[in-house]
């Protein structure tokens, strides 16, 4: 606390902050710095611990682990390329479906298609999708979704089987039901954050668009979307991140099969699903390999987030000049 050179000023009200005021200031600073430090330490510790446990596997399997395709515990051969492929493929499909649907819902909820109260109710319902536990989605996928899409999927395979996406028939679990459920799971995230992004666009911008004589479609496509783009991109990055790491529903729906196929109806596997289904019965060497796989998943998620941030920054610079 500094001394007060104005102490001699004659006033009944004005005075220096008390020692307690300065104390509270210091305390606040300590708390927020502490909170930030905890996060940093936690992340560092997790990465360190994962790395430590994966280290033996990294030594014995080397980078080949990332691009070989067998996972054979007996032969002690481990490779996760099919899982990396499955993780990215399922998440991209989910992002495509859930992203388009989520942004469309956000437009529907914010661009005066609905009365204000109705749109709030609707928004709550969409957000409730996020509250449904992953395992329930998995069960729903097995008992409802797969039987529902199987006839259509097999018809597509029978009539358009030459097309790589329809190259196999859907016998049960597979990429298509997994990606559909993932899309539904990331939908509330994408929709809710996009709604906020659209709501942050100032009214005067909307006014300017309609003032130029735009139709509603033109106002939304040419003015509202670019104005909300950085927030919508943030929504997509978060949704993609959630899809990459989703475990339970995928373990139930994707079929846990180590193969790389473009076909939407073939079973596949993801990193998270591999970890969840293999850990319970894994021996020491397999555990090391799984730790290596976990590290790879962490790296992928991190890269996706960094890439997403970079795109968001580029969009903000392009559209908002900041």
């Amino acid at each position: 606390m500094a001394s007060n050179p104005f102490a001699h000023v004659v006033t009944k009200v004005c005075g220096p902050p008390s020692a307690a005021d300065y104390g509270a200031d210091k305390l606040l600073r300590a708390v927020v710095w502490g909170a930030a430090a905890v996060i940093l330490l936690l992340v560092t510790y997790i990465v360190f611990e994962l790395g430590r446990q994966a280290f033996p596997a990294m030594l014995s399997f080397g980078p080949e682990f990332l691009y070989s395709t067998t996972w054979d515990v007996q032969a002690k051969q481990f490779g996760i390329l099919p899982e990396i492929w499955g993780t990215l493929y399922s998440s991209l499909l989910a992002l495509l479906l859930g992203g388009v649907l989520g942004v469309a819902i956000a437009i529907f909820l914010t661009q005066d298609f609905l009365d204000h109260r109705v749109s709030n109710v609707f928004r709550t319902i969409v957000e409730m999708l996020a509250a449904i536990p992953s395992v329930v989605y998995g069960l729903w996928g097995i008992y409802v979704l797969i039987p529902l899409i199987r006839p259509g999927a097999n018809w597509l395979h029978d009539s358009l089987g030459w097309f790589p996406f329809f190259g196999t028939s859907l016998s049960g679990p597979g990429m298509a039901p997994a990606a559909l459920v993932l899309a539904v799971m990331i939908l509330p995230t994408v929709a809710a954050i996009s709604v906020d992004a659209f709501k942050r666009v100032p009214y005067k911008v909307k006014e300017a668009a309609y003032g130029m004589g735009t139709t509603r479609w033109e106002a939304i496509l040419k003015v509202m979307l670019p104005s909300a783009s950085s927030g919508i991109l943030a929504a997509l990055v978060l949704g993609f991140g959630r899809a990459l790491g989703e475990t339970m529903a995928l373990a139930m729906l994707i079929g846990n099969s180590n193969q790389i196929s473009l076909s939407l109806f073939a079973p596949a596997n993801t990193l998270a699903s591999l970890l969840a289904s293999s850990f319970p019965e894994a021996g020491p060497i397999e555990v090391q390999a799984l730790m290596y796989a976990a590290l790879a998943l962490l790296a992928i998620t991190l890269l996706v987030n960094v890439f997403g941030l970079w795109i968001m920054k580029a969009a903000t610079r392009k559209f908002e000049g900041r």
Partner: protein, 276 residues
């Protein structure tokens, strides 16, 4: 102005214009926001190739009137309009008329600068592209930016975002965006309220140039501005006698007459600064 059955026809009866010179014949009977009667009984002709200034105290409905002239108020769900606004022989409030169409011909500049989140060039080209203009975009964009006195400041950074400009530059960008499509009528809602005196002066000069080709309706809080640029001035006031605050036209006439020889006491008080 034809004599009508309206109860409030102001002393402006001394002033008359040839219907030939009227580009918009605005007969506003009642404008509501929900149950709130915002404006009543105001007949406001907008003259061709002239600047028509709207002045009056806060809450007198002058902005509401202006925004009714290109159906901007239709964005507000509770807005209701009674009366007619005849533009080239057509009532723009006719059920068959799409407000979008009206706004293509009657442009608007708003009180707050509101450029789009896109480059300076794209902001100005926005209306041209919207109208599927087939000619040389670059030429039109340059012309619009020049007429908004912004060209020299931005000609080397047309690709930068419109939002990277200062407030005054943003407002001139919005003016360039509005005039790029050469709308028949330009509505300006206190366009200089966010500008410093130098930028204000530039915008006023621009208005005087614009009226060579367009007709301008200008809402302003600044009475000096009205005397500097408006050919005709409409003075609005608020009627609080019914327990509500309803705006109405008190007097309209040539600017000189309204300021130097006001017919109504209210106008006299307002232009001489005695208005509370």
């Amino acid at each position: 102005m034809n004599a009508t059955a309206d109860a409030v026809t102001s002393p402006a009866a001394t002033w008359s214009i040839d219907p030939q010179d009227t580009v918009m014949d605005c007969r506003l009977e009642k404008i509501f926001y929900g149950d709130f009667l915002a404006v009543r009984n105001s007949i406001v002709p907008i003259e061709k190739n002239k600047i028509t200034g709207f002045i009056g105290p806060s809450g007198c409905g002058k902005s509401t009137v202006l925004r009714s002239l290109n159906r901007m108020n239709d964005l507000i769900p509770v807005f209701r309009f009674e009366g007619s606004v005849t533009y080239h022989g057509q009532d723009i409030y006719d059920k068959s008329i799409d407000p979008v169409l009206v706004r293509r011909y009657i442009g608007m500049v708003f009180q707050q600068p509101n450029p789009f989140s896109m480059s300076i060039y794209d902001n100005v080209a926005f209306g041209l592209r919207l109208n599927r203009y087939k000619g040389d975009l670059d030429e039109r964009v340059e012309k619009a930016l020049r007429s908004a006195a912004l060209w020299t400041e931005v000609k080397d950074k047309l690709k930068n975002s419109g939002l990277s400009l200062s407030g005054g530059q943003q407002q001139r960008l919005c003016i360039a965006r509005a005039v790029a499509t050469e709308p028949d009528v330009l509505l300006m809602d206190e366009p200089c309220s966010a500008l410093d005196p130098i930028a204000t002066r530039q915008v006023e000069e621009l208005m005087l140039e614009l009226k060579e080709h367009y007709s301008v309706a200008l809402v302003t809080h600044n009475m000096q501005q009205a005397t500097r640029v408006a050919d005709t001035t409409a003075f609005f006031s608020v009627d609080i006698s019914q327990g509500s605050r309803t705006g109405y036209l008190v007097e309209m006439g040539e600017t000189r007459q309204v300021f130097e020889d006001p017919q109504a006491d209210l106008t006299k008080e307002y232009v001489s600064g005695e208005f509370s």
